[in-house]
């Protein structure tokens, strides 16, 4: 927490040095000549909701009049007299190219509500006015735009290279046809939200669906894990058996052990494993009659992805085995 607060304070402090007075000041300057009366100025300040105004002669600063001065003039019966005679002539100013920290320090030091901003040090040409609230609102805006920028960056980073390493895991129950496809659908939605291209997502979806259905139809149950890595998506599917007696044979398109009921639903066409292999950049099946079957597939999603157009029907970014 202390560390967090330190960062916050450092940021504000840094901004106080970075932001120039000219960025935060109010323009255009409303000014009066020394011939204006306190009453005229009072009416203007009231209307504009200012608390003070510079007095200029041919653009050069010659004095300043604040609400306090107007109250004193009213008290002393000078309200209809020109300000030139009694205004404060020694005016503290701040050059426009100074940081707002300088303006803030001056406001604090002299307990002023506002400072005329001059063109350059030693100059008497007024280019704006700055108050505490100008400084504060500009700081808030700066912090806000930094926060928005960070958010944007994070979103962009999430959609491209620096994806968080994530693993989605699904338990798959045998013969549970009602939930068949739910895991694959969830994977698809998740990868789409991560910003992967539709063609890549469809390839991964086919691998997941075929694997998911295999576990549900043929096995005693298992799980599917989808790992989202920097440059690839890895799909690991394992079941508890009974195992594939001849993996090589099972890989042949058209070879099936599915029963009549399953085939009537359009499953068990003997294309599952070859479909998966075709959609994957790396694919392996290991099976033992003791421990069950493990499918390990990878689809490259980064710059290293071997993109061969037309690997899948419809010209998807894919690879032919």
């Amino acid at each position: 927490m202390a560390e967090f607060r330190k960062h916050q304070i450092l940021l504000i402090h840094e901004l106080m040095y970075q932001i120039k007075v000219r960025e935060a000041m109010t323009t255009p300057v409303v000014s009066f000549s020394p011939a204006a009366t306190f009453r005229e100025i009072q009416l203007c300040l009231k209307e504009q909701r200012f608390t003070g105004t510079p007095i200029t002669e041919s653009g050069q600063l010659v004095g300043i009049v604040s609400i306090d001065d107007i109250i004193s003039a009213f008290d002393q019966g000078r309200i209809d007299q020109p300000v030139g005679a009694s205004m404060v002539r020694k005016v503290v100013t701040v050059p426009q190219n100074y940081s707002i920290i300088s303006a803030s320090n001056l406001l604090e030091k002299f307990r002023f509500g506002r400072l005329p901003v001059v063109e350059a040090p030693e100059s008497r040409a007024v280019v704006g006015m700055i108050t505490r609230s100008d400084i504060l609102s500009h700081l808030l805006m700066a912090v806000n735009s930094i926060a928005e920028g960070l958010e944007k960056e994070e979103r962009a980073a999430g959609a491209t290279a620096r994806r968080p390493h994530e693993t989605l895991r699904f338990e798959l129950l045998p013969d549970n046809y009602d939930l068949a496809g739910v895991a694959s659908t969830e994977v698809k939605t998740h990868l789409q939200n991560c910003g992967l291209s539709s063609a890549l997502v469809r390839r991964i979806a086919v691998i997941c669906y075929e694997a998911e259905m295999n576990v549900i139809i043929h096995s005693l149950g298992g799980y599917m894990e989808v790992q989202l890595l920097d440059d690839r998506v890895r799909i690991l599917v394992a079941d508890a058996g009974p195992g594939i007696p001849d993996v090589e044979k099972a890989m042949q398109p058209g070879y099936t052990t599915a029963n009549e009921k399953i085939r009537a639903l359009g499953f068990g066409a003997g294309m599952g494993l070859s479909n998966m292999k075709r959609c994957a950049d790396r694919f392996s099946v290991r099976s033992s009659m003791e421990s069950g079957t493990e499918v390990d597939a990878e689809v490259m999603i980064g710059e290293q992805a071997a993109v061969v157009p037309g690997a899948l029907a419809g010209g998807e970014g894919g690879r032919m085995p």
Partner: protein, 108 residues
């Protein structure tokens, strides 16, 4: 052609219409799910005799524009439920896949 235009042209009967404005770019006829997974192109209209719920997942995974249950096949109740929850367009037709394809030939 949009899905809505395809429906008008071929007289499909909506089972669940989620979005009629999607573009239909091709047609695919298939009843073996793995075959469809392998060969159907995105934005296709899929003509099939499989009325069970698994067609919805396959269509969703392959970005299919819509499923048409041909030959008067009725959808299972779960098919309708899943189509609604996943926003997949499903239609029915009394015609055969071949007849529907001929109506659409050269029109997409």
């Amino acid at each position: 052609m949009t899905l809505k235009q395809v429906v008008e042209l071929t007289g499909l009967c909506p089972v669940h219409l989620a979005n009629g404005e999607v573009e239909v770019a091709a047609v695919y006829c298939g009843d073996l799910l793995s075959d469809v997974l392998a060969h159907i192109r995105p934005s296709s209209l899929w003509l099939t005799i499989q009325g069970h719920q698994h067609v919805v997942a396959v269509a969703q995974l392959r970005d299919v524009a819509g499923i048409v249950l041909v030959n008067g096949v009725a959808p299972d109740p779960q098919t309708v439920t899943k189509a609604k929850s996943q926003g997949v367009n499903v239609f029915g037709s009394d015609e055969t896949s071949a007849d529907l394809c001929m109506k659409l030939a050269g029109r997409l």
